[in-house]
């Protein structure tokens, strides 16, 4: 049977022509979102206040929480980290089916992007938790899920350095990539369904007013573009390094 030639992702294909434009779009969208978050969307109400005041045409009766603004970047960045993990799992499956090293490279880069965005999620989540509940860390469902995701992605990258032989390294990494993709949603679900007895979680997200929804949407789109552009940039760099290695090898013998 003729080996169906799968189209291998390569630099210079359509994603690369689009990448610079996407990067600009990403930057624009995130800045617009940033401004919207602070200027357009009214801050969320916190604890009730002894009276009520007329500010800017509406009656405010509880503390206005600026810290909640972090949420506008926290949630989109977290979503992008899940998307990156999904992409990585997609390439892992493709590698196991076709055994093409190129898909393994793509999976590695997608995992790196996922790690980057998880770290960003942890940073923003950390700052929000610090102010919101006054503690540096609480074993609250969302934070634990991201911690587990971060550890798995780190384990994936450490595993890659522990194996030298390219074929075995790629196969084992692909398996771990798929296991991670299966494991994280379960972790997401388990930590939510079982109430941790320490202290009930005040879920602030609750109902999102239209402007908040729009703002989050804009930033989400922006972050997706940034993620995609970074992926292509990193992909071009890794491909260049691989070509350099190949030429070196040719020169040797």
């Amino acid at each position: 049977m003729t080996k169906k030639t799968t189209k291998l992702p390569e630099t210079g294909q359509w994603p690369d022509r689009v990448a610079p434009a996407v990067l600009v779009a990403g930057a624009l969208l995130t800045t617009v979102g940033f401004l919207m978050a602070f200027l357009v969307v009214p801050p969320v109400g916190g604890a009730a206040v002894g009276g009520a005041e007329l500010i800017g045409g509406s009656l405010i009766s509880n503390k206005l929480l600026i810290s909640q603004k972090i949420f506008f970047f926290h949630m989109p960045v977290a979503m992008v980290s899940f998307c990156a993990l999904a992409f990585a799992a997609y390439y892992c499956v493709w590698f196991l089916v076709t055994r093409e090293q190129r898909f393994d490279t793509c999976a590695k880069i997608a995992m790196e992007i996922s790690l980057l965005f998880v770290v960003m999620t942890m940073i923003t989540g950390e700052m929000w938790t610090r102010f919101e509940w006054g503690v540096w860390w609480t074993w609250e469902p969302r934070l634990t899920t991201y911690l587990v995701l971060m550890l798995i992605v780190i384990a994936y990258l450490v595993l890659r350095n522990m194996i030298d032989e390219p074929e075995r390294r790629a196969t084992f990494s692909a398996v771990i990539g798929i296991i991670a993709f299966v494991d994280v949603p379960i972790c997401f679900m388990v930590t939510r369904l079982i109430p941790s007895s320490i202290h009930p979680v005040v879920v602030r997200e609750g109902g999102m007013s239209p402007e908040m929804g729009l703002c989050v949407g804009v930033i989400m789109a922006g972050m997706l573009c940034v993620g995609f552009a970074l992926y292509r940039l990193r992909f071009r760099q890794v491909r260049l390094e691989q070509r350099v290695e190949a030429v070196k090898e040719l020169l040797e013998d």
């Binding site: 196991l96 634990t144 587990v148 550890l151 798995i152 780190i154 384990a155 450490v158 595993l159 522990m162 194996i163 075995r168 196969t171 084992f172 692909a174 398996v175 771990i176 798929i178 296991i179 991670a180 299966v182 494991d183 379960i186 972790c187 679900m189 388990v190 930590t191 369904l193 079982i194 109430p195 941790s196 007895s197």
Partner: protein
Amino acid sequence: MTRSQKAPAARPAAQAPAPAARPQRPSGFAQYKTLLGKDLRQEFRTKEMLVSMGIYAVLVIVVYGVALSFARPGGEFLEVSGGLLWALVVFTSLLGLGRSFAAEKENGCIEGLLLAPLDRGVVFLAKATSNLVFLLVVEVIAVPLFWFFFSSFAHPGASAPLMVAPLVVGSVGIAGVGTLLSTITANTRGKDVMLALLFVPVIFPLLYACVSATTAALVGGDALADVFGMSLALAAGYDVIMILASWVLYDFVVS
């Protein structure tokens, strides 16, 4: 040496018909029993893994003893004991899983298995079952020992025997996923650290569900009613999904 006369190989239409004397490939279940029998016989003869896991569990209990010697006995201990017990199970199983392929790798026996007409899922199931058996044997010793040493702190509630359910469900999950991960890390550098680094995050949801179920069983009362059933169901769900995934992916990992 008389070799029974092989029927002349007929024109191979689709597949050369196996001559009568040539062995018929046994059913998957028969191969599973053979593999499991070998693992159990080998382990119960040397008892290498069982003894090391048992001693390790006792050592962990000793460390707990020191850690808790300054805590006030009483109700809080019960809530903590579920987690302590599971920490003991996780690290003891890590030790056991790390050594589960020692015998195979030591003499190139893995290649002996790969040479046989045997699909890799059967190897996975047999190895997972043997790991499960060893883990359960150690738990049967370690858990009562744990309560023996900490009886001065607190006595488990009336519903404590329910604790067996999460222990079994958890051990099944640990043995299943653990076998896949230990196969991966069996021939990587720094294999013990690598196994732990992969194992703990992947097993986290199962651990989370099992600890909550065990604690509910130990504390008893109202906590038991709503949390126990839900946690156990989630743990069982985790087992099914992850063992299925491990079973499917095992073929790539072992060849």
